[in-house]
Amino acid sequence: MTTREAVLHPVRLWSGRVWGRHAALGLLLIVVAFLTAYPLAMLVYGSLHSTPPGAAGVFSLDGYRAMLTGANGLVLVNTIGLSLVKTGLAMVLALFLAWIVARTDTPCRDGLEVMITLPFYIPPILTAMAWGMLATPKGGLINLAWTGLTGSREPLVNIYSYGGVVWHMMQYSTPFLFLLMVGAFRSMDPSLEESSRMSGASPWTTFRRVTLGLMLPVTTSAFLLSFIRGVESFESALIFGTPAGIEVITTEIYQLIHHASTPDYQQATALALGIMVLMFLLVAWQWTLLGGRSFFTVTGKGYRPRVARLGRWRWVTFGFCVLFFVVTVVLPVGQLVVSSFFKFFGFYRWNMVTTEHYAAVWNNRLVWRALGNTLLLGLLGATATMFLGGLIAYVLVRTKWPVRRVLEVLAWLPWMMPGMVLGVGFLWAYALMPGPIQLYGTLWALLVAYVTLGTPLAVRTMAGAFAQLAHDLEECSRVHGATWSTTFRRILLALAWPSFAVGWILIFFIILRELSASILLYSVGNEVLSVVVMRMWTEGKAGPVSVIALVMLALVFLFRFAERRLVRTHLSA
């Protein structure tokens, strides 16, 4: 058997330990099934039963029947339309930004890369408030400037509209997509593009057919992740869509759970599972699109990514990145910084200047306890999730294990389920878990939920990276006597480290912001930051919330700086 076959069929290579390998893969499947299938099974039960688990009731299809209405069809069209438009626009923007940062000689690219990603880390509720102030038709700063300059009586922009919802969602999608794709742009072997150019293809054809073509696993995964997240997004639609009569699936579910006198979990879970099935069809489409094709861009040959010389145009691309930064970061974050020094959010008078919000946060024991818990959960959760995701991705991309499709489906599922419903699934699953292990009411319930929520992203990030690594690298390691674990750690993870780091940071901050599951699983003493922020926000303490958001942004800088240092040290080593 050749080494390549060995890599493709690792089980055969380790025939002496075949049962051990089977056991390891089986264990991986059980772990992933516990994380994802178990809470989802509880939700399936909820959708088929007139009452939630543990309560007397009867099995029925009422939830699904109630789902199939014309009104819900309209809501579904709205939801998919919104997400498609925002993902399409964000994708174009993110691709352009990633190309500028990774493949051109635009000045200050390192700094730009960090700055472009910042909007992702700002709590949506705060950017919503900021954009509400900037773009409300009555008295919004942009509209005031517009009417002042032109004398027009009609506002220029209205954030409470379809466009407003798309715009606010794009604030998060663009940096998210950028983060997922920039690494792949950077790690591409330029000889493939050079071959295309030498064969007479134009730069545009080369970009379209070769560059984008080779990035298909990453771009389609990123698109799907962002599109599905768009379908499940909630804050933008609730804050800017509902007042304009725009309803989406998540606001419908929110209504069923939180705004009915008796929460209708049967219909809410049925609706969420219906969406999950639709999203799954999309994922299946991606499998068909990528099936059987090779996307190796990182091979054993040494290379340096080709950088396009833009001449004077590099200042235009630089200006474009700065403009993106100003619009998506400086405007809302500037408002956070300023508001953190005023008694009332967005109400600026000299007699209201104060540092009381900083003092309030500093002296709040609960904030510190929650910050400690959150950092612990973030560090443990992001690390565990990325390692688990790396293992799953390896099995999916580098082996022919017959059950790997099941593993892939299981790993995708949590991403396809709206957070507020999945949170209920976690509650039911952990609280009603039979046996002596008590997960509910402990910090570990949150950790397990966070790992579950992060796994799809970790798998997509690592699978995209592994798909770009040629088999010869792994073969070399194996030929030189390295064990599988050493090869995985020293070759695969090392080469995929930029993706690992990006995935880690994304998951870390997803954990920091996660509320839907946290609110149902936290217990006294195990508070997390998102719950404390929600409490403060509900109490009307926008000032202290701004301070916490700024602390989170400082953490972003710290982690991004550390990650880039690590990447450099690691890659140079």
């Binding site: 543990g54 006198s261 008694k343 959010f345 509650l427 609280a431 006294v524 509900t538």
Partner: protein, 344 residues
């Protein structure tokens, strides 16, 4: 006609009753002392609080801890989330919470679900004044009344709406910001009570005013203060104290104030029942009630006015005689449906 013998019998009866009452009181005191003793042994009490972020509960908790040395741990979430949490806990036999601190509607629905256990006798049970009263399971704690908020830079005193019906004046067309009346919360309370008191015609006319509705309660006050809209309904009146310094004014409409009441109750299977009982009683003590009243939440116990601090005292006194009514859990679904049909 009363005979001498009858009078003597009555006098004897009264004398016996007079000697028995203190004896019963002593027995009750002894029984309550045992509750306190048991509560102290339990060491803490866990409250599931649906009034997310309320600053009053931490103050009450501090006072309770100072008095009894029993720690109060508060877990906060939205009413629907708490309801499902405790239901799941009870179904699994892993109850973590002791006391519910939630809106009266959710509490009533939970009572129907069988979520609570009877609290037994409480020394302060007789203190609430009508229309508030303690029953076997629930203890009323405080009340949040709703009014109107106006921007004082945009609305001259002579133009201020003095009543709910003044909002129907054409001058307010397109100028009213509102908490969504089609979703549970202040908006729904306002809709339900005003519909019951003023008829659905009131809302049919109000809907013609083109209310701008949203569910972002806390984001709405700054929008009024900045002048985006001149009027906001329904305004949570105790928030008046927090908005001091902004160009806004709270108005208490002449028809009265819709309100929401918050209740306390002990969860069935509560792991610390004595501490829970003690806390429930403490809610009705002067210290407990003042923790809320000092922040302008209306107490349910009478005779506290002189003890309420600063600005809150005036507001509480002003609100007290104007309470209009609160929600009826039985009508909630019907009313939400009606609201959706009127405000499309």
């Amino acid at each position: 006609m009363l005979t001498r013998r009858t009078l003597l019998r009555l006098a004897a009866g009264a004398s016996v009753a007079g000697t028995l009452r203190p004896a019963r009181s002593v027995a009750q005191d002894a029984a309550w002392s045992k509750v306190i003793e048991a509560a102290k042994k339990e060491g803490k009490v866990v409250v599931y609080n649906g009034a997310v972020g309320t600053p009053a509960l931490p103050k009450l908790a501090s006072a309770f801890e100072a008095k009894y040395g029993i720690r109060v741990e508060v877990l906060e979430a939205r009413a629907s989330e708490l309801r499902e949490r405790i239901r799941t806990e009870q179904a699994s036999g892993k109850v973590l919470g002791d006391v519910s601190h939630n809106g009266s509607t959710t509490t009533a629905l939970q009572l129907t679900d069988g979520t609570f256990q009877p609290h037994g006798s409480l020394p302060n049970a007789g203190r609430p004044v009508a229309p508030f009263a303690v029953d076997d399971h629930r203890v009323p704690i405080y009340v949040i009344p709703y009014g109107i908020l106006v921007n004082t830079d945009m609305v001259k005193p002579s133009e201020e709406p003095k009543s709910w019906k003044d909002l129907l004046d054409p001058r307010w067309k397109g100028k009213i910001l509102s908490d969504d009346v089609r979703a549970l919360g202040g908006g729904a309370v306002f809709f339900m009570v005003s519909t019951q008191k003023m008829g659905k015609e009131f809302h049919e006319k109000l809907a013609q005013q083109g209310l701008h509705m949203n569910r972002e309660l806390r984001g709405n006050y700054p929008r009024i203060a900045r002048g985006e809209y001149p009027v906001y309904v329904p305004f949570t009146l105790p928030d008046t104290l927090d908005l001091k310094g902004l160009p806004v004014k709270a108005i208490l409409p002449t028809e009265g104030l819709p309100y929401v009441r918050f209740d306390g109750a002990i969860f069935k299977g509560a792991p610390r029942p004595s501490a829970a009982r003690l806390l429930l009683d403490f809610f009705l003590s002067d210290e407990g009630q003042l923790a809320y009243a000092n922040l302008a939440f209306m107490p349910v116990v009478g005779g506290l006015e002189s003890k309420i601090a600063g600005d809150a005292r005036g507001l509480v006194s002003e609100m007290k005689p104007k309470l209009l009514g609160t929600t009826d859990p039985k009508l909630q679904d019907e009313m939400l449906k009606l609201a959706k049909s009127i405000y499309k």
